[in-house]
């Protein structure tokens, strides 16, 4: 294909591909200018700019409360998902059997099942347990939805980890707990961290299940945006959307730096 690289055909494909990529990027740029409008309506600012909607986002008790709840829920759900998911991934890896694979498929279910179906299941069980519209309820639901991502990233890390190291540790008298703590965990840390990032973003952004299991007491940030987009035209949503987009950029940047750092460290170790 090398000889075709600079032909007009390939240039045409490149133009098409970049048009698609610009379409992907288009909505990223829209929220920011609107969030700076001085008006009380969702309009493009015409010459005048104001940060009043950001002020509202970070001082209005309603929005503040939602941000706070979303942070607490995401942190707790991430913790539960990372702990149970990492342990399970190590367990399956070590079981390495047909049974283990069946368990893995089973654990991945919440990722495959459409979220509306999961929402119905959680709605049902939380009604029985009295967990509807409570923080523990939303946290548990988000943990279960996030666990598959942790299991996947940790499993990927484990695939590159030499089983003999684990066997050596056990043969030298380390307990299973010590082996996990001092031998396995340090080696799969990148997978655990990626899993944590995935889990956090999933919880932070989750809306479908949250719509079902929360009502008034728990009102997460996506929930407030959802209501705002559907019911009124409050430019605070634009400020919120812009903030979320900037956070996404920051996360991806941090992740890339972290990966580069890891890659260079791995190179040093090999040298």
């Amino acid at each position: 294909m090398r000889s075709d690289r600079y032909t007009w055909r390939f240039v045409l494909i490149l133009i098409l591909a970049w048009t698609v990529l610009l379409y992907l990027f288009l909505p990223i740029f829209v929220a920011a200018p609107i969030s700076l409008t001085p008006d009380r309506y969702l309009l493009m600012p015409r010459g005048e700019y104001s940060f009043r909607h950001y002020e509202n986002l970070f001082t209005n008790p309603k929005w503040l409360n939602s941000i706070w709840q979303s942070v607490v829920i995401a942190v707790c759900a991430t913790t539960i998902a990372v702990v149970t998911g990492t342990l399970a991934a190590v367990g399956i890896w070590r079981l390495a059997s047909r049974f283990g694979e069946a368990v893995r498929a089973f654990i991945l279910l919440p990722m495959i099942v459409p979220s509306i179906v999961s929402a119905l299941a959680f709605f049902r069980i939380f009604a029985d347990l009295g967990l509807l519209d409570t923080m523990p309820g939303v946290i548990l639901a988000h943990s279960i939805l996030a666990v598959p991502y942790v299991v996947i990233t940790v499993s990927t890390s484990l695939a590159g980890f030499d089983l003999k190291l684990e066997q050596a540790a056990r043969n030298l008298g380390a307990s299973m707990r010590q082996t996990i703590r001092y031998v396995i965990l340090p080696n799969i840390m990148p997978g655990v961290l990626s899993g944590a990032i995935f889990a956090f973003i999933l919880s932070w952004d989750e809306i479908v299940v949250t719509l079902f299991v929360s009502r008034l007491t728990v009102f997460t940030l996506p929930r407030r945006m959802w209501d705002g987009i559907r019911d009124q035209a409050d430019p605070t949503i634009a400020a919120c959307a812009t903030t979320l987009i900037l956070l996404t950029f920051a996360t991806i940047l941090m992740y890339l730096i972290f990966q580069r750092h890891n890659a260079s460290r791995a190179k040093l170790q090999r040298a």
């Binding site: 098409l16 929220a31 149970t84 089973f106 996404t248």
Partner: protein, 289 residues
């Protein structure tokens, strides 16, 4: 962890439980109790509310509103999948043939929108496409139209938002599949006298077919459960199955129909996954190895 240690300390030959199973247990218990058990309850409701029998499922073929909604769902999902696969294929094809640096930039343009909150994206599309939005402003400024063109709160808006959401999901597996194609195959085809188009059509495309099928089924499965984008960009006119279920449960409180549709949706998704597992190695797609 205390439990884990105890089981190792115990008599292993007598216990005959692999100690590592203890690590999986907490998650299994959590899933069984909070996920699988209520899922079974939902299934039970679908065949017992208001009374025991299959009358809820019978509505799948007899109730006009449900039939119309199912038709909309499949139409939107099929067209969205086709468009996302087409655009995704072009980008993935370009990605395997450009330099490393160029590819990193393309990847950045795919990953940032991929990770941006789905609500922020739906909101942005709404702002771009509504009657006084930027796209209509441009159309009027260029004198293409006088009246605003209805781009959103209809099916077109749903397509724009959903295809946008699905393209990255199409690109990533397609790219992974294409990268595994040996470029010497194409070179050989060219060397044996095939034109560039023929080499693509008869060699590259067939070789990329497993990835195409895998990605296509994956995208179709994901579109089936779509809730946020159609609800916001469809403006109540394009009701797909997920929104229909939520109305049944949260507004009209008809659990029988809502749970029946949820169970049906779940079975379709699982059936499609089973089909897909014949074409592609699911384990590699889900990171098992």
């Amino acid at each position: 962890m205390a439990v884990a240690d105890a089981s190792i300390g115990g008599d292993r030959s007598r216990l005959r439980v692999n100690p590592y199973f203890v690590l999986v247990a907490p998650l299994l218990v959590l899933l069984l109790f909070l996920y699988v058990w209520p899922m079974a309850q939902v299934f039970w409701i679908s065949i017992s509310d208001p009374e025991f029998g299959l009358q809820n499922y019978e509505k799948l073929i007899s109730n006009r509103g449900i039939l119309k909604m199912l038709h909309t769902t499949f139409e939107v999902c099929a067209i969205t999948t086709a468009l996302a696969m087409f655009f995704g294929y072009i980008v993935a094809y370009a990605m395997v043939h450009v330099s490393d640096r160029h590819r990193t930039w393309m990847l950045l343009f795919i990953l940032v929108p991929f990770w941006v909150s789905v609500l922020a994206r739906a909101f942005s599309w709404l702002m771009l496409l509504h009657d006084n939005g930027m796209v209509n402003d441009l159309l009027r400024a260029w004198g293409i139209t006088d009246e605003p063109v209805q781009l959103v709160r209809n099916q077109l808006g749903v397509y724009i938002g959903m295809v946008h959401y699905m393209i990255p999901y199409a690109i990533l597996p397609l790219y992974a599949g294409m990268r595994a194609i040996d470029p010497r195959c194409i070179a050989a085809a060219r060397g044996l006298g095939a034109g560039p188009f023929e080499a693509f059509w008869r060699v590259f495309l067939p070789l990329s077919l497993p990835g195409l099928i895998g990605a296509g089924v994956l995208v179709f499965i994901l579109t089936l459960g779509f809730f946020v984008t159609p609800a916001i960009l469809g403006g109540g006119k394009t009701i797909m199955v997920a929104e229909y279920i939520s109305v049944q449960i949260l507004q009209t409180i008809r659990w029988g129909i809502g749970s029946m549709l949820a169970v049906t949706l779940l079975f379709i998704v699982l059936a499609l996954l089973a089909v897909m597992s014949r074409a592609v190695d699911l384990r590699s797609m889900f990171g098992a190895k």
